[in-house]
Amino acid sequence: MARLDSFGRYGEATLLIMTSLADGPKHGYAIMQDVEALHDTRLGPGTLYGAIGRLEQAGLIEALAGEKRRRPYRLTVEGRQVLATTLRDLQQLASTGLSRLAGQ
């Protein structure tokens, strides 16, 4: 199974994009706005489409039919599995970190 940390420069952007697509298909501009609202992160246009390109190549997202200038993207079945695994790993890391902080 693909791992998001294998996307190098686009690692963080791929996680944010996939999280944005978790509740349904969106086109590039909508993903960008959603990520800003979700995480207070402004994805640069080059980073956004670079990351979309890598995710598409890896088969984790796919483009839907639509206008060529506003093509929507959605998670594939494998993409949903990879996202779920990644988020569970992060959740576990976060809860471990928080409990250690609380124990000090």
Partner: protein, 263 residues
Amino acid sequence: MNLRERTSEWLLGLYPAAWRDRFGDELRELLENRPPTIADLIDLLLAALHERWHQTRTTGEPLMSRQTLRWVGLLGPILHLTMVAAGLFLGLDEESSEALVLLSMTPYLLSIVPLHRLYEQAWPRMSRAATKTGAAGTLAWPVMFAVALALDGLRVPEQWQVAAMGAMLGFTQMTSVWLVLGGLVLLRAGRPAPFAGAAGLLAGLSWLWVFGVNLAVHSYAPHLVSNSAVYGIGLAVWLIADPLWAMVVAAAFVWPPPELALA
């Protein structure tokens, strides 16, 4: 179209053609909805370079088009000469003048990318070694220069400053090796490359002498430097060979000899 939109359109042109075909329209639509900030333009530039590098690594396609190669081959040496001339003749204070002349090596060394293509065609067995050597010298030059300047600004003990300058000179000798190799490569090729080759050899060897052996000995063992004329002769040869080399290399990219046609 305002300046930022024009800049972003130009930046889109830096992406590989296949990438532009796939994502270009979507990216334009996005930039129409959200006019690019300066940070967005920098992001576009970095992502374009990243995509080019990714494409070269995964498909083996050239990093630059023939036209870009020629522009880089032409502009690198010209920018270098302009900075050297400004540093030497504009009557700047000594520190600014030295800094300008030293930094002028960076645009000059940009021409390593198109030169790599010449090496590949004229001397395939040497191309990798020549390019790696030049790239290492190119990267080391501004880094070590910055370290030397920072140490100077921090008022660290003088021996550390001398050590940093020594390291810079040592690293940049790789650049001289690249110039010498470049000269040898071009000597083997057709017109106008032999002239560039001879000038490159002269520039590389005098560069090795002026900024390498001579200054290192001067820094670490000043008692061994008995004749400053030796330094003067090396500098004079370099000042003649360097512009000659730059001009002829630039000409080789604008009017490449048939046997070195840039594919």
